[in-house]
């Protein structure tokens, strides 16, 4: 439906990257994929230094917290879980995007995914360890964290222990999933990198390509094996990701507190992770496209399609939220009624309704109207989703942790019984959260100095040799719309979607 009039997509094709690069500069996928490795843009060092400084501030905040105790983070006995737990859920959640965009689109053979997969997988690879690290400030005694890997102490009935197992396994799977499609690219990168190029990083690159590239020759049996392995990991990583978020939700749900004891929680957490994961991939792709001039490969329609995937999850999440509050509000037991009241109308009404508008309604509206259904629209919607869903996680985590459990029977009129606890935000957890947010672009900036930013082999393979030659002369694509002819390797979709009216359905089935 987005492609009823192809010119609309073309109109907005380059509304993210206005700077027009020289024709022919982006002609080759290899050159574009290797440019971040070979060239240091002017903004690179300042960006890394600023982001690095923010990360250092976060580490300082954590050191202060270790020295003075968790109390400096605003916690108290009547608000024992709060921002770090919300961060843990939110950051591990956004790492889901890699699994969705890469694995699900791979399994469904959506060819348009090709230029996006490397960035999506890299985003997952860097966000997951950052999310995992939130275990450290969350713990009251982080110096005893080794006990989690000491089998004699394990308590196999604990959801937190299984969180730890599930996330660790998922981290390994994410790393493998990043690495496998990279193997052929490492060989290409090795050829591409001048063996006499001086510099520490070039030497490191050469060594990494050699060590990790293995004995890849690109022979037919090797390729068959690699395809099989990628397909297998793509299938395995989806239930693995589901397990991570389900178990994460058990940590909350293994409780008798209203707002935590919810049968809907595992599904709710998984859908929230899918939703924010896709949103982060949109942001990440938009930033990479802009910074490294990938406009020739990543088009407006990529953003629009990811935007559709995102709001589909967003709609499911909105529905689950509605179900949760409706049924808990209806039940009328004192705890549930008071909690629903607190969230919808009481102390937490601002963050809740902020979520409802910013991550519930607005993204759907943006993607619903043709006028706003553009790359820029998708990026705005994604930014809203990532932030507002973090706020929603606070709304999930904080109110039940402050619920008064020893209280008089519900007073008439039904609202508040007992005194609710309060969490006070302080500079410490906010600094740590901002630092973790800054760590993601920082790690991506560094990562793409070492690995090709586009999946070269995958893109070339999907374009096919004959189509690569053909694509040079695809009509109507070189007309100043930001697409470069040879860049049509960026996706078969490009060539395909010029003719059929509904490109989405067509390619999804291919």
């Amino acid at each position: 439906m987005s492609k009823e009039n192809p010119s609309i997509a073309e109109d907005h094709a380059c509304d993210l990257g206005e700077e027009v690069t020289e024709p022919g500069e982006l002609a080759d996928v290899r050159a574009s994929a290797m440019r971040p490795v070979l060239e240091t843009p002017r903004w690179w060092w300042p960006a890394v230094l600023v982001l690095g400084a923010i990360v250092v501030l976060g580490i300082v905040a954590w050191v202060v917290q270790v020295a003075d105790g968790l109390g400096v983070a605003g916690y108290n006995d009547r608000a024992f879980w709060s921002i770090y737990e919300a961060d843990l859920v939110a950051f591990i959640g956004v790492s889901y995007g890699g699994a969705v965009v890469s694995a699900i689109l791979r399994i469904t053979k959506a060819a348009w995914r090709a230029p996006l997969t490397r960035i999506a997988e890299a985003t997952a690879l860097v966000t997951l360890p950052v999310g995992m690290l939130f275990i450290v400030p969350h713990l009251g005694s982080p110096w005893k964290i080794w006990e989690l890997v000491w089998p004699p102490y394990w308590n196999l009935s604990s959801p937190i222990l299984w969180d730890f197992f599930a996330v660790s396994t998922y981290l390994l799977a994410t790393a493998v999933f990043f690495y496998l499609p990279l193997i052929p690219d490492l060989k290409i990168a090795q050829e591409w990198l001048d063996p006499n190029r001086p510099g520490l990083r070039s030497r490191a690159c050469r060594r990494i390509y050699k060590a990790l590239g293995g004995n890849w020759t690109g022979s037919a049996p090797q390729r068959r094996l690699l395809h099989g392995a990628i397909g297998l990991v793509a299938i395995m990583i989806i239930p693995m990701a589901v397990s991570v978020h389900s178990v994460l939700s058990f940590a909350f749900a293994s409780s008798s507190r209203a707002g935590y004891l919810e049968t809907i929680f595992p599904v709710y957490f998984v859908v929230a992770a899918l939703y924010t994961g896709v949103a982060l991939v949109v942001l990440s792709i938009a930033a990479c496209r802009r910074l490294w001039h990938l406009e020739a490969f990543i088009h407006s329609r990529h953003f629009v399609r990811l935007g559709f995937v995102m709001v589909a999850f967003g709609a499911v999440y909105l529905y689950l939220t509605f179900t949760e509050y409706l049924i808990d509000g209806y039940s009328g037991t004192s705890g549930n009624a008071a909690w629903v009241h607190q969230v919808l109308l009481g102390r937490y009404w601002i963050p809740f309704w902020f979520y409802f508008v910013a991550a519930g309604v607005v993204p759907i509206v943006i993607m619903a109207f043709r006028r706003t259904r553009t790359a820029r629209g998708a990026v705005v919607a994604s930014g809203l989703v990532v932030f507002a869903m973090w706020v929603k996680r606070l709304v999930i985590v904080i109110p039940p942790a402050t619920e008064p459990l020893v209280r008089s029977p519900l007073s008439a009129g039904g609202v508040l019984a007992g005194n609710w606890g309060t969490y006070h935000f302080t500079w410490v957890p906010i600094s740590i959260t901002v630092a973790a947010t800054a760590a993601i672009p920082l790690l991506l900036l560094v990562l793409f100095r070492f690995v090709p930013i586009l999946p070269i082999a995958e893109m070339e393979e999907l374009a096919g040799p004959e189509e690569r030659a053909e694509s040079v002369a695809v009509p109507g694509l070189s007309s100043g719309d930001g697409f470069r002819p040879a860049a049509a390797l960026g996706g078969r979709s490009l060539a395909a979607s010029t003719s059929p009216p509904s490109a989405m359905g067509e390619e999804g089935g291919r």
Binding site: G69, F80, S158, F164, A251, L405, V406, R407
Partner: protein, 282 residues
């Protein structure tokens, strides 16, 4: 077809039913045999360490000499909070680290009453299974304790406890001078920063025949230490009662009984309270 039809279901069904019956019978037989075997093993265990008192109180075969419990007679509590103060002084706790807290509650007709809340020492404690590093455990005398040197501070036990009986050491604990007992789960004094704490029924004092601090300091005789094993309960004023009869005579209840935690703290009501009113899913 016409001839075949009445026959078919029969012939098709018979073996199937037979099979199902046999399967069910086989299963039941197996289950019965297994159960008998288990029972035999169990009775063997009972013979080996025969303890007549365990059989008498119909408790699961308990090896411990005591099964500690507490009775809280709400009829006499005047909310003086001397129990809280005595406890915090004896264990060098911060002011908000309430092993025993006294809540001001309201009954259905809006009158206030006081409700002391120690650890409930649940028979099925929700805090124990959720700890990732097994820092919570239950002794054979029925006391749930925290190994603070093990606790890593996930606070998931605070989430699990329905009685708000746990707190966290958010900052450095109060220093304690030399203690009569070593620092151990039964006497977690001084507290350890970055770990969870809770009431331990003064577990280290019980073997010496001393009452917990809160009980011995209660001027109203509200709190009783009970032992389900010997069926006796004593309060700070020296009143001794037969536990089972005392509970039965006064229709004692447990707090949030519907949660299935089986607390070993019994409340005697007297102000028209209904402790179960606010239990979900009742």
């Amino acid at each position: 077809m016409i001839h075949g039809e009445p026959k078919r279901p029969g012939s098709a069904c018979q073996p199937g039913q037979e099979g199902a019956t046999l399967g069910r019978r086989g299963f039941l037989r197996g289950a019965a045999l297994g159960g008998l075997g288990l029972a035999a093993l169990g009775s063997l265990g009972g013979v080996i360490d025969a303890s007549p008192s365990a059989a008498a109180t119909q408790q699961p075969p308990a090896k411990a000499a005591h099964q500690w419990a507490m009775v809280i007679d709400l009829r006499y509590c005047n909310g003086c909070k001397l129990c809280t103060a005595a406890c915090e002084a004896a264990h060098y706790l911060h002011e908000d680290q309430t092993w025993i807290d006294v809540f001001t509650m309201r009954n259905a007709s809006g009158e206030s009453y006081f409700m002391p809340r120690p650890c409930m020492m649940c028979e099925d404690p929700p805090c124990v299974p959720v700890c990732p590093v097994s820092a919570n455990f239950r002794t054979d005398e029925g006391l749930t304790l925290v190994n603070q040197s093990r606790c890593i501070g996930t606070r998931i036990c605070m989430n699990a406890c329905p009685y708000q009986a746990r707190y966290f050491n958010w900052s450095s604990p109060r220093p304690a001078p030399r203690q009569p007992f070593p620092q151990e789960p039964a006497w977690p004094v001084p507290q350890v920063e970055g770990t969870v704490g809770k009431c331990v029924f003064c577990a280290a004092m019980l073997p010496a025949g001393k009452l917990p601090e809160c009980i011995s300091r209660c001027p109203m005789g509200v709190l009783y230490l009970g032992d389900l094993e010997t069926d006796v309960a004593v309060n700070g004023l020296g009143n001794t009662v037969k536990l089972s009869q005392f509970l039965a005579d006064h229709d004692a209840v447990k707090f949030k009984e519907s949660y299935g935690t089986h607390p070993r703290v019994f409340y005697i009501l007297g102000h028209g309270q209904d402790l179960d009113t606010d239990t979900e899913g009742a």
